[in-house]
Assembly symmetry: C2
Homo-oligomer: 521 residues x 2
């Protein structure tokens, strides 16, 4: 026991069980797993479960994913028609950087999820390595801004590739370290016979991206457009390899694979993605986005005492009225983001398993949510009834629409394999099915309606938009009543021979209710 000195560094308390059994071999771990129930290991015995480390990582990543919206938000709009084009070019660049960052960071985050679905327990060493990894992820947005501002300079590419390569090395170290202490691993791998196969498979997948980046950084000296292409391939790598596999299977028939290898790092659209982490990441993004405007308000919208004295005759209220639109924008965007979070929350309450494809749709939805406060701010920034105001309002509607429609798509995708991914209540024909549909469809419908209304009644666009902002929260409050009334109405129209629609609803409810009661009791 004196030999494996460094293994003493591990704080993992399960440790002792294994030492007591006098062996550290993998074969023994399966019997060990059977003898100790999960609650014994996770509970008060102080095992370092990875839960909080992952929550912290999710918080960091969600901040970084949304941070590049700030340069977009702080681009001041000029009403000068001459500057309009150069301004639009600048804005487009910044929005492109924001979307690229969001995509890249969520790809890195997905890789992180995958890694920690294999490694389920941590020790101090892994925690510190993970922090180093996080530091590099948080630096990625900056390399992107450099690339966008200096597209022909290799420095941005080199920095980006450098970060990714170091991250790859750290992740490999994490994998090697975890496999040398198998009690840190997922139980499925712990009891598996071919751990070495897993290790090599995972390392191969992890090193793929840094390797591509290595080539990209070399090519950047020779012919830099090629390195951009390589980087684009990096993002879409899983999809490309997936379609290649599919083509191969069509061409030469299904290649047999070890069934084990299909559990982790498969990159199939229905590969499970930790639901907790998707929720934590989404919560982080929604929280940052909801507060994005108040950050600006707190910093910029406190008037200077001398200005108040000289320009407004000492009347603070008059001075604050100038900032009125900013406050309106804040409350409007907070309410909209909060309600979109509420819809997301209701949806994921009934989702029992998150797949990779659902995660991707969620990312798209979040990317639009990120742009929302900005769009709201614009709606209040222009003079009344100007063309700009109408445009800003319509852009807001489009953003809300897409944020909502991607949420709806998640549900639709989940419905395709509802037996696996959805709670019985919201499956087709389930008790909550219609209500969930109404919840998810409310924002897209309202946004679409507002969009077309503002097209027709462009003179009252601001009024229509404000009315929408105010009514939607109340619509959510009474949504269940509305759905019930709507259903009753439909019944009344199509089955007029049944006189009391309420009792019909009750009856139907009771019918659908029986199996679930039977299920629980």
């Amino acid at each position: 026991m004196g030999d494996n000195d460094d293994s003493e560094i591990i704080e993992h308390h399960v440790d002792e069980e294994m030492e007591k059994k006098g062996t550290r071999s993998h074969a023994a771990s399966s019997s060990f797993l059977e003898s100790v129930t999960p609650s014994d290991r996770e509970g008060n015995s102080g095992t370092q479960s990875s839960h909080r480390l992952l929550a912290y990582s999710d918080a960091l990543v969600s901040i970084i994913a949304t941070v590049m919206i700030l340069p977009v938000a702080h681009t001041k709009v000029e009403d000068n028609e001459e500057l309009r084009e150069s301004f639009q070019l600048l804005l487009t660049t910044k929005i492109a950087v924001y979307l690229m960052t969001f995509l890249i960071v969520t790809v890195a985050w997905a890789a992180h999820i995958r890694l920690f679905q294999v490694i389920v327990r941590i020790d101090d060493c892994l925690a510190l390595l993970n922090l180093a990894c996080m530091m590099l992820i948080t630096f990625l947005p900056y390399t992107f801004s450099l690339m966008a501002t200096f597209p022909k300079n290799v420095l941005g590419i080199l920095l980006f590739c450098g970060c990714v390569m170091v991250m790859g090395v750290i992740q490999s170290v994490i994998v090697l370290y975890a496999f040398s202490r198998p009690f840190l691993l997922n139980e499925q791998i712990q009891i598996s016979e071919n751990q070495t196969f897993y290790k090599h498979h995972i390392l191969k997948v992890i090193m793929r991206v840094p390797l591509m980046c290595f080539f990209a950084s070399i090519f950047s000296f020779i012919f830099f457009p090629l390195s951009y292409m390589l980087l684009a391939i990096v993002i879409f790598l899983p999809y490309i390899s997936q379609s290649l596999k599919w083509c191969r299977s069509k061409a030469i028939g299904q290649v047999e694979e070890t069934p084990d290898s299909m559990l982790f790092y498969t990159y199939l659209p229905n590969e499970p993605l930790s639901k907790d982490r998707v929720e934590a990441f989404s919560d982080g993004v929604y929280a940052i986005v909801a507060t994005l405007l108040i950050l600006d308000i707190c910093e910029d919208n406190v008037p200077d005492p001398t200005v108040v004295q000289n320009q407004f005759g000492g009347s603070l209220i008059a001075a604050l009225q100038v900032y009125g639109p900013e406050f309106l924008a804040y409350f409007g965007s907070f309410a909209t983001v909060g309600l979109l979070w509420f819809v997301h929350h209701s949806l994921f309450l009934h989702v029992t398993k998150t797949t990779r494809f659902m995660g991707l749709l969620n990312t798209f939805s979040l990317a639009f949510v990120g742009g929302l406060p900005l769009a709201y701010q614009l709606t209040h920034e222009f003079p009344h009834n100007s063309r700009n105001e109408l445009e800003a309002i319509q852009i807001s509607c489009v953003i809300i629409f897409f944020a909502g429609i991607f949420q709806l798509t998640i549900w639709v995708v989940a419905l395709y394999s509802e037996q696996e991914t959805l709670h019985p209540y919201v499956r087709y024909g389930g008790r909550e099915h219609v209500f969930m549909l109404a919840k998810l469809a409310l924002y897209p419908c309202v946004a679409l309606g507002t969009f077309f209304l503002t097209c027709i009644l462009s003179k009252f666009s601001a009024q229509i938009f404000h009315l929408m902002e105010i009514t939607v929260p109340f619509a959510f409050l009474v949504l269940r009543l509305l759905v019930r009334a709507g259903l009753a109405l439909l019944r009344l129209i199509f089955c007029p021979d049944r006189p009391d629609p309420r009792s019909v609803v009750e009856e139907e409810d009771d019918e659908t209710r029986v199996p679930f009661n039977a299920l629980v009791t």
Copy 2:
């Protein structure tokens, strides 16, 4: 059943159990509670557990608590000696606003925790009410900036009091709503006979603060310093009422109380505070603070292409070298905040119950952590070997010291009632006791050491500080070895008759190990 129409609005699925049992009375709920295991209720049956709502609220509150550091960070330092005084006044005001906001927001957050320790399940209506409450909390920092900038204007006070009063009303509605649907409540209250007593007790406590704010807003018209005093009382209300109670008990003897009333809203220092939420809030603050500098860097430190062309002859690297100090500051502060998080994580891994007093200490620690990136930024902003640089470095050391020492204090406080609050491993004499002490003491000791070293060798202060930044992460990596070596050395000095220190350590380990093995297997 047709009567309680609105109860149908509730999404709570446990509902059906109760309806099936044909009763909604409180007496029945106890038998119901026994018949359904928690996993049945919480698990796949779609009960809206409040977990994610609380996580989202924690994320929002942690952002808001740290946001007022931004105006401090963006106050540009002038090297002009004449402006120095007015600058320092401005900075002091902003720092005061930051600390006040942090305190007020954490007080509001503690009230929120308390509320949702009573209400453990939610439905759509509660979720929406909670969002409204959050919107008001996020607005509080702004009212504080107004108060600080215009101390003699009543508008700031009125706005603040208005927010707090509306929040009080919303919270009362939440309480009334939850008590009208008892299955949303904590099980202890659900099975309790005197629910009405609880309701009145909680409402009384909740309405205390809005009532004080109401008086403060009235006094602000008559004599505004009085309203500031009232607001200060609001913050320290629990402590004041606690000490009043204590005085009364000393004067006229212990007043008997219903034992039930002592479970919630007691404001005793050892009142339990949800550990999950303390962790979530801390994670949020650490994550925001760690990324605070990269937000600025991404926005401000991308050079303009024309500037690079004209001033640096097209060399991007030369242009970026100007920003070198900012990058250093970022990596330094990220590493320090990350490691402080790591210490916090290790500590709370072994804390089994969080009390209100520990929460307060945690808040103090976090308030110092919030100032850290700023201090780091300052250390790199001044010319080498200037008086300002030395001051900035020493301020950084002081901030790190206090952030660390409050963490250590949490542990010391926990040790006082270690049977309740700590895991056996880290209790006095436990296996991990010394190691935990070393972990918690590392940053305070290093910061103190650096502080005094820079006092003596003020010429090399920057070098000492950089050395500290670089060595500490590695110190954490090998800390267990260091502690082991240190203990062995101590043993060697004080018990020189035992020749092999390693075997002694092993032996002692085995001794302490036995009970826990027995405990688990």
